[in-house]
């Protein structure tokens, strides 16, 4: 087994391009960091080359033709991409939700009426808020919530990491700040951090919709699988492998993804 891997690698390296027939799929760092994409690949059964990245990064690589398919989560950027690439194909494939998390001792003092209210209260109180600041779907959603709250996020309390979700969550934990986190990453990291979710009344509105966008022919098979009944079963099974409680649910969060 190992020897075969070595030979495979040497072959890859000596030809200097293993590009060939493989399917290169980009996926949001949240889905990769939580271990979900690897489990989904297992369910799919065929080899995929999964490149983690932010929605903005992946759509840029897809536009350059370097990815065959992407799984991303920012509707605005996705629609923009579809307008520029009419031959691409898009479908809502699964969804999770966002959590607003913060230090236990501060969460009690925060308004829980809505996510926007809570974030307004965080800004007003001058509590630290840690932002991805990386063009990811999570970052886009966070900015939309600030706009809803009527807050321009800037100042010493607003900490930008420019990193993926897992590292950003740990920064928030270490400096005792709030952050917007995808439920899957939070579930994977919950053992090692002290942050707790703000119990929001409108938690249901914080859906995190992932879409698959097929960029070229090579991505067709995986795309078709994702939207098929087998794909739906695969998503449920992969989720059960990774998480104790369901995080990623198949299909669209709302009637209109």
């Amino acid at each position: 087994m190992i020897r075969r891997r070595w030979i495979l690698m040497v072959a890859l390296v000596t030809t200097a391009c293993g590009g060939g027939d493989r399917v290169v799929a980009g996926a949001g760092t949240t889905t990769v960091d939580s271990g979900f994409m690897a489990a989904l690949e297992e369910q799919y059964g065929a080899d995929l080359s999964i490149v983690p990245g932010s929605t903005a990064e992946l759509l840029e690589l897809a536009a350059q033709g370097s990815l065959d398919l992407v799984v991303v989560h920012d509707e605005r950027q996705e629609l923009q991409f579809m307008a520029n690439n009419p031959t691409a194909q898009r479908a809502g494939v699964f969804h999770s939700r966002f959590l607003l998390v913060g230090p236990f001792e501060l969460v009690g003092g925060i308004s829980t009426a809505s996510a926007a209210d809570a974030m307004g209260a965080i800004a007003a109180a001058g509590h630290k808020f840690v932002t991805r600041d990386d063009g990811s779907g999570t970052h886009s959603r966070e900015l939309a919530l600030w706009a809803e709250a009527g807050v321009t996020p800037e100042g010493a309390w607003y900490v930008a990491t420019g990193q993926g979700m897992g590292l950003t969550l740990q920064v928030a934990d270490q400096i005792g700040g709030f952050t917007l986190v995808e439920a899957g990453v939070y579930a994977s990291a919950a053992d090692t951090i002290d942050l707790v979710p703000v119990p929001l009344d409108d938690a249901a509105t914080l859906a995190n919709q992932y879409s698959a966008i097929r960029v070229d022919e090579a991505g067709l098979e995986f795309f078709n699988w994702l939207v098929s009944d087998a794909g739906v079963r695969g998503i449920v099974a992969a989720d059960a492998v990774v998480f104790a409680e369901p995080v990623y649910r198949p299909g669209a969060a709302t009637a209109t993804p």
Partner: protein
């Protein structure tokens, strides 16, 4: 304290289990860093010897460029190669993005100036007498370079060690052009990033220990070779 002990325990368990994932990552790391160093050294050392021996206008500028190249941020080297390699790029037809080949290319770009710069420095440190004797030799220029290289070979060994140390420890270039694909382009440094992001601190630290062990073994071998060449005191 309890937390630290737990992480350390996880780290050692991860290393000593030596599972298939770790073996794949280690093998790819050795292949990529090894080939990148080999390319960088094969091109950089002869260039360094030539640069150290020759005298021409603008040599100072070339030396300064090489020395600047020794400090080029890996992520910048990766970015340059990414722009060349992506499908619409100049080398897009190679279809090499997110492959070990692209990673070797990026790391070779990093290894070359180090191999050249350290070698040139060693050659320039030859005593004036040695240089005069070399110049007086009635042999071809390539023969003269070969003699100079043999004279400074501990310096060349240092160049190899420095180049290898640089590429095996860098994360920026391989992350950008490799994409950190599990089982394909994930090496020790990018695996550390991945595990740290997933809050698997024990595995991240374990991978770091493996990285240090590899660097130590390579440096021990090169240092031993250097010392053996030293005249007895």
């Amino acid at each position: 304290m309890e937390f630290l002990g737990e992480v350390l325990g996880d780290a050692f368990r991860y290393v000593f289990e030596f599972g298939p994932e770790l073996r794949t990552i280690l093998a790819l790391t050795l292949i990529v860093a090894g080939l990148a160093t080999a390319i960088g050294v094969l091109v950089g050392v002869p260039f360094g010897v030539w640069l150290g021996l020759s005298r021409f206008r603008g040599r100072g500028l070339v030396l300064a460029l090489v020395n600047t190249g020794m400090g080029i941020p890996p992520v910048l080297a990766g970015l340059l190669l990414l722009i060349l390699l992506w499908n619409d790029g100049v080398l897009g037809s190679w279809d090499a993005l997110f492959t070990p080949g692209a990673m070797i290319g990026a790391q070779a770009l990093l290894a070359f100036p180090i191999a050249a710069g350290v070698t040139a420095g060693a050659v320039r440190n030859l005593s004036g007498d040695a240089v005069e004797q070399l110049a007086a030799l009635n042999v071809s220029a390539s023969r003269r370079s070969w003699i100079a290289a043999r004279e400074v070979w501990p310096g060349i060994a240092a160049a190899v060690a420095a180049a290898f140390g640089r590429v095996i420890a860098e994360v920026g270039a391989v992350l950008v052009v490799g994409g950190n694909i599990e089982g394909e382009t994930r090496v020790l440094t990018t695996a550390i990033v991945q595990e740290a992001r997933q809050s698997n601190l024990g595995a991240a630290l374990g991978l770091g220990l493996v990285l240090l062990a590899v660097a130590l073994i390579v440096n021990l071998a090169l240092t031993w070779a250097q010392l053996r060449g030293e005249p007895a005191a």
